[in-house]
Amino acid sequence: MSGAARTPVRPAEPAPFDVEAMRREFPVLTRLVHGHPLAYLDNGASSQAPRRVLEAVDDYARSHHANVHRGVHTLSEEATARYEGARDRVARWLNAASRTEIVFTRGTTEAVNLVAQSYARPRLRAGDEVLITHLEHHANIVPWQMVCAQTGAKLVVAPIDARGEVDPDAVEALMGPRTRVFACAHVSNALGTVLPVERLVASARARGIATLVDGAQAVPHCDVDVRALGCDFYALSGHKMYAPTGIGVLYGRESMLEDMPPWQGGGDMILTVSFERTTYNALPYKFEAGTPNIVGAVGLGAAIDFLGSIDRRGAHAHEAALLEHAHAALVRIPGLRLIGTARRKLGLVSFLVDGVHPHDLGTVLDQDGIAIRTGHHCAMPVMDYYGIPATARASFAFYNTFDEIDRLALSVERARRMFGGDVV
């Protein structure tokens, strides 16, 4: 090596996140709504799919579709390879210990129901407790209420505070000798609060309590490592992370899944069937009765490939900047109140405007091409906590822009004036 005068090599500055290039990956973003460019700010409900996902789905349907795990013919083998390849991607992406820990479901809802019925139901006794928090989505409340009704167990709810935060001390205080399951959201879909799941999961595990984390709103915005997190179960929905609808994942620790009976019966989940006796298939097939959503899994696998191919750090930083910009732009509007002001938030902002019902706000914004969600966000207990029937919620993806948020703020201001912000 020529020792002398070399310019010191400095680490290259990371290129700034190129949102315009990102937008070109999402065909729907070029469309108009009521004559305005679409500003899609309803990603928390369902995100849009990039070209890569659309093409994978199309290619599968055009050239490779057959049933999986059944035929020896070429198409069946190709379909099986793609379906199982998607499972491998999910396993790597979540850092699961094994691909057998990845069960495909219809979504988060089905994953939680599976755990409630297959894990909790046989184990819960009258007087046992299932602990959740006050900010859960109905998908992480109702399945537990159902299994409590079936077993005589009790549903215990950890409180939130005015900011929409969950105090880990308060949750831990509710982890008692009869607590068998602790289930909570990773990120709240109504408020955007990031829960201290690492600590809560560790506390629960230390007490021998099984843990389920509802990751539906987390996976689009942060990288999740289920082994680092240490939870027994992790649930997610493909359609909130750029994949199609109707496909989701239940991650389950292998030792837990092994000990659980099948949830539904049918084809694929068995090894042998006679009228006297059926032997169940190995993991994860034991939990995948019937022909699965093959094309959905292919789409989910492509979405993970897509996420693996982009500058995720840049994307996450851009989303954080969007959220900050939205807070700043919205609080300037007179009579606007943010619902959910947790110190750690991801991906969304919920708000109310004096004198304007969220439903009317949603209609006015739609006329300006801006898609937001209005309503109770399937989290009625959160609405009850704040004593409100509904909120307006703008939720972001890395393809959103600062300009879209400025349009949001302008349109909200217009609605406010329209409904009487200016007293006549």
Binding site: D360, T363, V364, M383
Partner: protein
């Protein structure tokens, strides 16, 4: 379709200052209606004298469309007979859902709601009060009527 077709001045006015809003002394029928999807909730109080709606008031919270619709409805049905009110229900139902329906003279201010049908997601908001009314009136024993929902 323009926003002004939905939010006509009459509607904005009735949203800002709803008429016949509040509890009703000596009501004979009180029925709740709700639209769980958006959290709209209203209670309709009726005082029936024989076959006639002697007085009517409403309470609750909802969007501009549901509030204005309820407010306009109370004005329109006060003093009417059951049969007249139910006939009005049918005409409103047509106005809100049937593209071919033309608002007739007799509807008066209620015709302002004709823009709603261009906004399918909002039809339930406008019809909530009317369904609540119908369930109150159709029942032969109005006091026993439970809650209605537009979901």
């Amino acid at each position: 379709m323009e926003l002004q077709d939905l939010y006509r001045d009459v509607i904005l006015d009735h949203n800002r200052s709803p008429r016949n809003f509040g509890p009703l002394e000596g009501s004979s029928t009180d029925v709740q209606g709700s639209n769980p999807l958006c959290g709209d909730r209203l209670t309709l109080h009726l005082r029936l004298a024989g076959d006639r709606i002697e007085d009517v008031r409403f309470e609750g919270h909802g969007c501009a469309i549901s509030t204005a619709s309820a407010s306009l409805m109370t004005e329109a049905i006060k003093g009417r007979t059951r049969a007249e009110a139910l006939a009005l229900f049918d005409r409103m139902h047509a106005l809100l859902t049937d593209d071919a329906a033309v608002p007739d003279e007799g509807l008066g201010k209620l015709a302002a709601l004709s823009g709603v049908r261009e906004f399918p997601a909002r039809v339930k908001c406008a019809s909530l009060c009317w369904h609540t009314l119908a369930s109150a009136l159709q029942s032969s024993a109005p006091e026993s009527v439970g809650a209605v929902s537009t979901e």
